[in-house]
C-alpha cells in the first residue's frame, strides 16, 4: 500500500517524539491501543497555568499511519485550550494525511489519545484542587 506524501513526511521526520515525566503536575498522559492491529500510542501534553497546551510529545509503536497520526496531532494541539484539543476529530486527521479506509483506525487512535491525555490532566488537577480546598 502506498503512503501519502504527508504520511511519509511525518514518518520519516516525526515531530515531538519523546516523553515528559508523567508525574509532573502540568503533564497529562494518554495511552491507548488499536485492537485491530496491536499498535500502541502514548501522547503527553504539557499544560500551562492559563490552561493552554504548551507542548506535546508522543511515542507510538505501530505502522507509518499511526506514527504520522500521532506526530500530526502533537503539532495540532500546541497552543490550543483543552476543550479545543478535544474538538480534534479523527476525520480531520484522516483527511489531512489522506489515510485510506483501512488506516482510519490510526486516526481514531490519535483522537482517543488526545482525549485520554486531557482526561488524565483533568483528573490530576481535580485532585490538586480538592487537596487545596481541604
Amino acid at each position: 500500500m502506498a503512503y501519502s506524501e504527508k504520511v511519509l513526511d511525518h514518518y520519516e521526520n516525526p515531530r515531538n517524539v519523546g516523553s515528559f515525566a508523567a508525574e509532573d503536575e502540568g503533564i497529562g498522559t494518554g495511552m491507548v491501543g488499536a485492537p485491530a492491529c496491536g499498535d500502541v500510542m502514548k501522547l503527553q501534553i504539557r499544560v500551562n497555568d492559563a490552561g493552554i497546551i504548551e507542548d506535546a510529545k508522543f511515542k507510538t509503536y505501530g505502522c507509518g499511519s499511526a506514527i504520522a497520526s500521532s506526530s500530526l496531532v502533537t503539532e495540532w494541539v500546541k497552543g490550543k485550550s483543552l476543550d479545543q484539543a478535544l474538538d480534534i476529530k479523527n476525520t480531520a486527521i484522516a483527511e489531512e494525511l489522506a489515510l485510506p479506509p483501512v488506516k482510519i483506525h490510526c486516526s481514531i487512535l490519535a483522537e482517543d489519545a488526545i482525549k485520554a491525555a486531557v482526561e488524565d490532566y483533568r483528573n490530576k488537577h481535580a485532585q490538586v484542587v480538592a487537596e487545596i480546598q481541604e
Partner: protein, 177 residues
C-alpha cells in the same frame, strides 16, 4: 450438496462451542472434512460441481483458521454473541497493560539493535507467562462465567500479546542474518 453457511464453525466440525478446545480433535475433524471436499476429488466432474467443491473447501479452511489459534477462537466465539472485540473504537485498555506493552516494545528494539539474543529470550519468557495467564482468564470468562464484554477486553489483550510475539520472531530472524 451446497456448502452449509448457516451452521457455526463448531457445528461444522462437530465440536462443542467452547474456548478450551482439544486441538487434536479439531485437527482430526478438519482433515476428515477436507478429504471429503477436496477439489482434486471432483476434477472429473462437471464444472458446476467443481465449483461447489471449491466453495466447500474454502468454507472448511476458513472455519479451521477461525478455531485454530486461541485468539481467533475467542474472537469468533464473541462474534457468535454479537460482539466485535477488535472494533477500532475499543482503544481503552488498562494503563498497566499498555505500560507493559511499551516496555516490551522498547526492550525488543534495544535488544535488536544491540544484537542481544538473551534479552530477547527474557522478554519472550515474560510474554509466554502473560500469554498463558490471558488464555486461562479467557477460558474462565468464556466457558465458565459467560462474561462476554469482560472476555472481549481480555481477547484484545491477547491480540497485543500476539503482536509482540510477531516482533520478537521478526527480531530473531533479523539477528540470524
Amino acid at each position: 450438496m451446497l456448502p452449509d453457511f448457516k451452521s457455526t464453525h463448531f457445528e461444522l466440525f462437530g465440536l462443542p462451542e467452547r474456548f478450551e478446545l482439544d486441538g487434536v480433535q479439531l485437527d482430526a475433524a478438519y482433515r476428515h472434512l477436507q478429504v471429503q471436499v477436496h477439489p482434486d476429488k471432483f476434477a472429473h466432474l462437471p464444472e458446476s460441481e467443481q465449483r461447489v467443491s471449491m466453495q466447500w473447501s474454502t468454507r472448511v479452511n476458513e472455519a479451521y483458521q477461525a478455531l485454530k489459534t486461541p485468539l481467533n477462537r475467542a474472537i469468533y466465539l464473541l462474534t457468535l454473541h454479537g460482539i466485535n472485540a477488535l472494533a477500532p473504537e475499543n482503544t481503552q485498555l488498562p494503563m498497566a497493560f499498555l505500560m507493559q506493552q511499551i516496555e516490551w516494545r522498547e526492550g525488543i528494539q534495544s535488544a535488536r539493535s544491540a544484537g542481544d539474543v538473551s534479552a530477547l529470550q527474557a522478554i519472550e519468557r515474560d510474554l509466554n507467562r502473560a500469554d498463558k495467564m490471558t488464555a486461562a482468564q479467557l477460558a474462565e470468562e468464556l466457558d465458565v462465567h459467560k462474561q462476554w464484554s469482560a472476555a472481549a477486553q481480555t481477547a484484545r489483550q491477547l491480540k497485543f500479546i500476539d503482536k509482540i510475539r510477531e516482533e520478537i520472531d521478526d527480531s530473531y530472524a533479523a539477528l540470524d542474518m
